[in-house]
Symmetry: C2
Subunit: 224 residues, 2 copies
Amino acid sequence: MKEFEEMLHTLHPPSEEKKLTPKQEQILKAAVEVFAEKGYASSSTSEIASRANVAEGTIFRHYKTKKDLLIAIVKPFMRGFAVPFFAARFVQDVFDVPPEKLEDLLKTLIKNRFEFVKENAPLLKIVLQELAFHSELKDQFQEVFIQEIFPKFEEAIYHLKEKGAVVDFPNPTMIRMIMSPIIGFLVTRFLIAPDLPWDDEKELDQTVHFIMHGLSKGTGSSSD
Amino acid sequence: MKEFEEMLHTLHPPSEEKKLTPKQEQILKAAVEVFAEKGYASSSTSEIASRANVAEGTIFRHYKTKKDLLIAIVKPFMRGFAVPFFAARFVQDVFDVPPEKLEDLLKTLIKNRFEFVKENAPLLKIVLQELAFHSELKDQFQEVFIQEIFPKFEEAIYHLKEKGAVVDFPNPTMIRMIMSPIIGFLVTRFLIAPDLPWDDEKELDQTVHFIMHGLSKGTGSSSD
DNA sequence: ATGTAAAGTGAGTAATCACTCACAATTTGA
DNA sequence: TCAAATTGTGAGTGATTACTCACTTTACAT
């Protein structure tokens, strides 16, 4: 019940954007709940209103349409997730560091983003579900991930390849290989089996280990 | 237009289950289309009927509810995907084969399942989307994947660990690491960017390479 | 205290929804 | 050939939907 306030702060960081009225926060909180539970299309504005202890008209006072409400929820989440990747240090850190420390660096980044997702697990579900159907969300995804995060990865990969520490797969393939096990863990951890007794630290370490070894050259057969 | 017949055969293999009337096939074909396009909840039975050139009542003659129609589509797809894993040979093949050939064996299996998914790409989308919301589909998933496929993997992993060829992560973690890059590829290949000029053979080879090396012991740090 | 703008309300609305049913057309079996 | 069973039809139905709007309440500056 308490960590929702932090989540809402993430949704609408107090630094930017106008501050929200209490009812507005209740609406956002209820909408995240309902959207995550039933999916956007199966959620009714009347249920969101009643769960937020608010009249249905109040929702439409602040959000012109139901889809506007969805976007108001998802957009800040995506931007919030991407924030660390905007740091100029990101790429520099990756290729300045000696290869044997790279694993630790990746771990730090991933653990940080893991905590962010952990605090916003329902948002992860909403994004993964609705990205497929709403072009507005796709555009936002394109803006944040493909235009900001992916190029950072590509630059880092470029330097790793130069050092010869890494297999020579195409960049999109390598990025997919880096992200797939991470997303696979996040989805299992928060969506499929959130109630299992997870040792997050261990799982993340093993996931990073898996990625690094999977991308490393050689391992026994030193053919090419 | 033509490969739909094969797909429908996969949906309702002629060996079992009663044969379908032409209208019934049109309904299934249209339903797959519409469900994949707009998602189950946003699809209307009236649109499915009109796209199938069928009266709306005809749908409900064969499927009591809209959800019954969804299940009639998804269930055979899941069963069809699992078929090769039911083969008794599966595990035996994996641990009888010398480790250096294991990669080839995995490739063969994965390429085979890849072709199956390729012929039923819209079904993949429907399953991934709707699994989250319909307990009937979760049950079917449980039945097929968790009770049939996962144990086969566990047995194979047990023998691989015995041979000492593989890191000692928990079985669920290892299964996740095997499946994540494959699912990541399938999702990218068929849902996110199906129109890219894919070299499927190469991508699959690299994905298997990535998995095998990621799970292999050692590579530099032979600490534990 | 008072005027004004913003926030909140909930009954009302037209559209759409999944589903029904009385009936028509077609297929089947003997 | 003909009756019975199966398959197909589409107008009709009650429920639910996102959204509106005339109105009330609250917040705030002077």
